[in-house]
Structure formats: structure tokens, C-alpha cells
Symmetry: C2
Subunit: 205 residues, 2 copies
Amino acid sequence: MKLLYTSVLLCLWLTLQDNRVAGRLISVNKPNPKDAAAYARWLVSLNSWGVLNTIAADLGGAPFGNVVSFSDGMPGKGAGIPYFYLTALDPTAAYAFKDQRSSLTLSEYPLGTCGKTDPENPTCAKITLTGKLKLVDGSSKEAEFARSALFAKHREMEDWPKNHNFQIFKLEIGDIFLINWFGGPKPLTVDQYLQWNMSKLTFSS
Amino acid sequence: MKLLYTSVLLCLWLTLQDNRVAGRLISVNKPNPKDAAAYARWLVSLNSWGVLNTIAADLGGAPFGNVVSFSDGMPGKGAGIPYFYLTALDPTAAYAFKDQRSSLTLSEYPLGTCGKTDPENPTCAKITLTGKLKLVDGSSKEAEFARSALFAKHREMEDWPKNHNFQIFKLEIGDIFLINWFGGPKPLTVDQYLQWNMSKLTFSS
């Protein structure tokens, strides 16, 4: 019986590990899809990686998506603005230096909260934040905040090679595209998104 | 003892469910990172969704990423060309009708084969296929192949609303950006990618 108990606990632990983003657990209380601001902030706060798009001048101006890690704040305390830790050895940062037009795209699917729904089904949420990808002054207060936010969710970043010259970038959001139910994109302004108070979300622990 | 055995089996089953893409199981034999063509085809074949990027004329020509489902063939038999089932009610198809420049970005991370490695760590692979997003003639042999490929991996697609006018699109690949280890992008031509023989991959069942 003790062995059974141990194996069930182990199973639960393994399942939790699967869903865990470094430093926090997935919230079990996802917002009501009708609350666009809450849902958007929840999606951005809970995801730890996404696809960051820039314009590839050397590929005929094609939109170039790149898998990146990001953070919008300390676990459970995101401010909605995504920060990145990029090196110009990777094309995205190099493209952004030439043309800041950018978007960050995230899916609810990897959070494990879409159930058996297809990733393209509108009830499995997706968000695209469009704006400008900007370098943050490394000696600023904002960079200090961003480094803490990034390293808390991506622990290995702090040890990435110094000679690769990783720098803090942020997406200055100009437009939000959110689908989290049937009926087309949810109306949501950047102000509504940024002003939403994260403390209204309840995180499981 | 029987109860223990049952609970361990249940645990294993739950773990497999987590990693399963509709209709097939994740391959346990991922290719050697040195074999760029094999790795790229494995990544495209095993992923079921990604971020499809187009140019958003109404957002100042910004690159616009969108979460989409795709398929490059029947499970275990992908041909490397990603097919999509899109409606112009969603911006991506509408953008593609005006400007075909596009890219599809995928990560190894959601396959569950990166272990504890960060999604931005170069040993957790990522691929960006850049090219043109083209409508496929719905009555062609190619569309027939694409529909079978898509519906086999995304079972609910077949029942999506007819009045939304979903159509088959494909990405005509012009350039491949693959990172699957340290040392920068792996040299890989479109011909090397397309001509690689999927039967060399072994899938678990």
C-alpha cells in the first residue's frame, strides 16, 4: 500500500513537472474568455517562450519568426511587456537593429489548458502582440527589472556565454490580436491590457 | 500488487497522452544533430502546430505571426512541405492573398524532447522555413493529399464550419534556418531538405 501511495505521488509529481514553467506552477484558474485583458495578461504571464517576428532584409523583406524565451516580470507579477535576452549572433536582434517592426506570438496550447482541442480551434487561445522591438539601455532600471524577470523564469540565461553579448530587448506594444473563443478577435486596447491588475489572477502553488 | 501495477500503467499512459500528437506517438529516436536534413524533417513531421508569419499591411507592414495547425503528410510519412487549412476570416490567409511572403516557425520544445533545456538554448532545436504562402487549387490532387494529411493529424478540422470557407494553403519553401546545436545555423538547402527520405526515421508505436 505504501508503494502504491509512493507511485501515485510520483505520478502526480511527474505530471506537475511537465506543466511547470521554471519557478512557478501553471495557474489552475484561467480567466473567463469574456475578460479579454485578463486572458491576454494570463497568456503572456504563463508562457515562457514564443515566436518573435522581424523583417528579414536578406530574405526579400520576408517576415522571419524565431523561437525565443521571454518574461514579462517575476513569476505571478508580470507587467505585460515582454522582455528578451538576445544576441546579434542570432538573426532576430540583427534584423531589429535595422527595422524595429515586430510581433510576438503565443499559444495557450503549450500551457496544457486546451484539453483535446486543436491548437487552431478558437477556444484554444492565441495572442499576437505587434509593435517595435527595442534595445533596452543595459545600465537602466528597466534593464535591471528585465534581467530579474528573465533570469527568474529562465535560470540558465544568467550563465550564457558573456562573449556572445546578450542584450535586453523589449517589445513596445502597438496592437493586440487575441482569439480566445468563437466570434473573431476580442477587442482589446493596449491601455486596457497594460492597466489590468495582475493581482486579480490567482495562482496555484 | 495488482493495484500498483495498474497505477504505474495508468501513469505511463497519462505521460504518453501528454506527448501524443493526434494519430501518432512522438519518435523516441530523434536524429543526430549533425544530420541537418534528418533533424529538420523530423521537427516538421513531429510538430502539429507552429507560428505562420505574413506581412500585415494594416499594421504598417509589420511581420504578423499567427498560431496555426499544419501537416506535411500522413503520420510518419511527411514530405516536408507544410500544408494549412485557413479561412480568410483569420488575418493570415487575407494577408497572404495580398503578399505571399511568409515563414513558418517551429520549436522542438513542445515535443518534450528538450529535457530541462531552455527553449532558447541552441540544443533545443528550432526551425524557420521562409518562402511563399500559396493557395492550393481545391480540386487538385495536391489538395486531396493535403486534406488527408491535415485531417489525419487534426481530426476536428473535417468538421469545421463549411460557411467559413476553409481552404488549403502551402508554404513554398525558399530558405531554411535551423538551429539544433551550438555553432550557429546548420547549412541546409531546400533540395537537401526535400529529398531526404523519411523512411530513414524510426517511429515508436
